[in-house]
Symmetry: C2
Subunit: 413 residues, 2 copies
């Protein structure tokens, strides 16, 4: 968590960090400024207060960060603009040089942020020339500094995650109720779902309902949700086709990951539904997913390595005859993603459960998803169950998501 920053900087032998920003969404800046959303660059020397440097128009917003705030004019930006008319790149080059010099930054400095790739490469090539007393460090260990901070959450963050969980769970339950108020044109598999006027219920209409409820409840949904039916649901990242009509007896994967509008903290939950009834082959796969989902939740404990649970899931699915990325690297069938991921101001962050990434020793304050899934494009369905959970300060696992697990979504309309 954030209070570990100076300790980790010492461990990495960093004298300072330098977080740059442009107009791109920037979780690093959000994290350090308590999401003041003032933009701006941040300099923090080890064991010293962080400094936020913003444009003149952002000075009032920046005050909300709680950081020490300067404007670019405190670093000669007005003069730089006059020296470099029409040449924003050169003015910015001078600004960065002045910031590092005036703040006395030297030694091992790690750059962070999210920014334009070409600008990033040019800015740091220039700074190596302009401020030779700084050595920029960006090896893979140093690059992980924030990943390690994000890995555990403090109480304020847990409260924000709880609020996002409560509101997101409400949206999922309301969506289920909304669909259930419809009726089907028949009982046969593939029968269309319609409203009282006989109008077809499309995925587009369901997504519109979801978005309106998110907005009304104060959730922000930058990426949009996944609401995918049948074969589409067998591609974990297919978002669904707006024009498709909901049908009886098909698999529906509803994966929603909005964030609190003010807090910026995400929630992530997935449910698989079959309208009317569940065909045997979907039910059988669902049972396998739910079995390992429960087994993982029952065994998760602090002090264990996160990858242990990925291996447990791979072992179980393979024993049940499902292909996995371990038994069949590159497979599109079976278990094709990993068990879960941390989340916070980023929808994906540490801890990871993937065999491809750095594993974590599970600890109090860690917040993450558990989301086993199985996918069969040729058979036309996919199944995933996902909750977001966390370890509280006493090491107990708590589930943040509050949505029933029923596979069958009965129509009452």
């Amino acid at each position: 968590m954030k209070s570990d920053l100076d300790r980790l900087m010492r461990e990495l032998n960093l004298d300072a960090i330098f977080v740059i920003a442009d107009e791109s969404p920037n979780p690093y800046n959000d994290y350090l400024t308590n999401r003041a959303r003032a933009g701006g660059d941040i300099v923090k020397k080890r064991d010293q207060e962080a400094v936020l440097i913003v444009g003149g128009m952002e000075v009032e917003i920046a005050a909300k960060s709680g950081l020490k705030v300067y404007t670019v004019y405190d670093f000669g930006y007005a003069e730089l603009l006059q020296q470099h008319p029409g040449d924003a790149a050169s003015a910015r080059r001078g600004l960065y040089r002045n910031i590092l010099r005036q703040l006395g930054v030297a030694g091992r400095v790690a750059p962070y942020g999210v920014a334009d790739v070409a600008d990033t490469l040019r800015i740091f090539a220039d700074l190596r020339v302009d401020v030779p007393e700084v050595e920029f460090i960006f090896d893979s260990q140093t690059a992980e500094l924030f990943a390690r901070l994000y890995e555990t959450k403090d109480e304020r963050e847990i409260a924000a995650l709880q609020e996002a969980a409560r509101l997101t769970s409400q949206v999922v339950c309301e969506t289920r109720d909304f669909i259930s108020q419809h009726h089907a044109e028949g009982n046969a598999p593939g029968s269309r779902v319609v409203n009282a006027q006989g109008e077809a219920l499309t995925i587009g209409a369901v997504k519109r309902f979801i978005r309106e409820r998110e907005m009304a409840l104060g959730l922000d949904d930058p990426e949009g949700c996944i609401f995918a039916q049948g074969r589409d649901s067998a591609f974990p990242h297919s978002v669904g086709e707006d024009g498709d009509v909901l049908q009886v007896g098909r698999s529906l994967i509803f994966d929603i990951f909005p964030r609190g509008l003010a807090s910026g903290y995400f929630h992530d939950v997935t449910r698989t539904w079959c309208i009317g009834y569940a065909p045997d082959e979907i039910q059988a796969v669902y049972d396998d997913v739910q079995t390992i989902f429960r087994r993982v939740l029952d065994t998760l404990k602090v002090g264990e390595d996160s990858q242990r649970y990925e291996i447990m899931t791979l072992d179980y699915f393979e024993a049940k005859g499902h292909p996995t990325t371990r038994s069949h690297p590159g497979t599109f069938d079976g278990y094709v993603h990993s068990l879960g991921h941390g989340l916070g101001l980023n929808i994906h962050e540490a801890p990871s459960f993937s065999r491809n990434r750095r594993s974590s020793v599970l600890a109090p304050g860690m917040v993450f998803t558990v989301e086993p899934g199985l996918y069969y494009p040729e058979r036309g369905f996919g199944v995933r169950i996902e909750d977001t959970v966390y370890f509280d300060q006493t090491g107990h696992l708590r589930t943040l998501t509050d949505v029933p697990y029923d596979l069958v979504l009965p129509l009452r309309g």
Copy 2:
């Protein structure tokens, strides 16, 4: 526009471009993939078709890009993951090397995209070692390649911008109607605006109305709008305080810049309102802003340098006794920003009207805002008027925004 890409690559003597992506929103990727939203890295050699390389889970979505699609597995990613267990950075390093090698990329290659700063620096430092036949070019001219593409829009883009304009204008008009259905507790300046039940109308409630209407109409609002009253409105980027109650006779700046949910193209409009009546000093400043707003719109024409209109605005405001960034560099009073900016998949892009940036010769297909404003924090008000306009193929200036300019917002409730 996009069809200029090969010509500009030739002009810059580039053999290829390499657009990298991570989970960050990435307008470069959106632009080249017709916003397929599949993520992925893009390689385009000069005079050849662009190639999109995505993860296995994104292969179906990526097909919507119209580009030639590969997955990471076509470049040995499964083997790389096995060679580097738990070390995503090394696997990615190998992947990029394989992509450039297998696609035969060599010579002068320009990197683009939006990505994690530390990752960007490490990836290109590694690639310089791993693929020495490539020289990465990121000088300020090359970095502007996409800015020059974005500068003019093709017909498909204009249609998307028109649709975003139509919907955004509707939201602004509906917001005005929503407020006008309220009444005031009195006529005196500062009297509170309340509903029929006598409940105060807050900025938070107005913003909730705005968000719900945006969502219902299919607009996405990643940054949230500005709805700022009184002294807050005198800071151009203050977004407004949710808890503040709307009052009679104060300046309200409403600046809204959503994008089409599917298209991703932005619109940008600002209106200044005074509820009930306009105090003389606000009306006088409003008249100055509206005068130069109209004068600029009346004189804008293709073939002129964009900065001419910035100078015209500075001259006019200074003649009327307002401080500007030219007469008073670093000022917080008077005219503190520039006249306008292009917009498309980015809310700010070329052409620019700022004296601090590269100017443009105005041309058919250019879409941009015209937004003069005056700000007086000590006097407790700000004024801005903004429309988005474009030059059609015959060189006629067309206004995309369709919202009345009335300063006074009368209450009918």
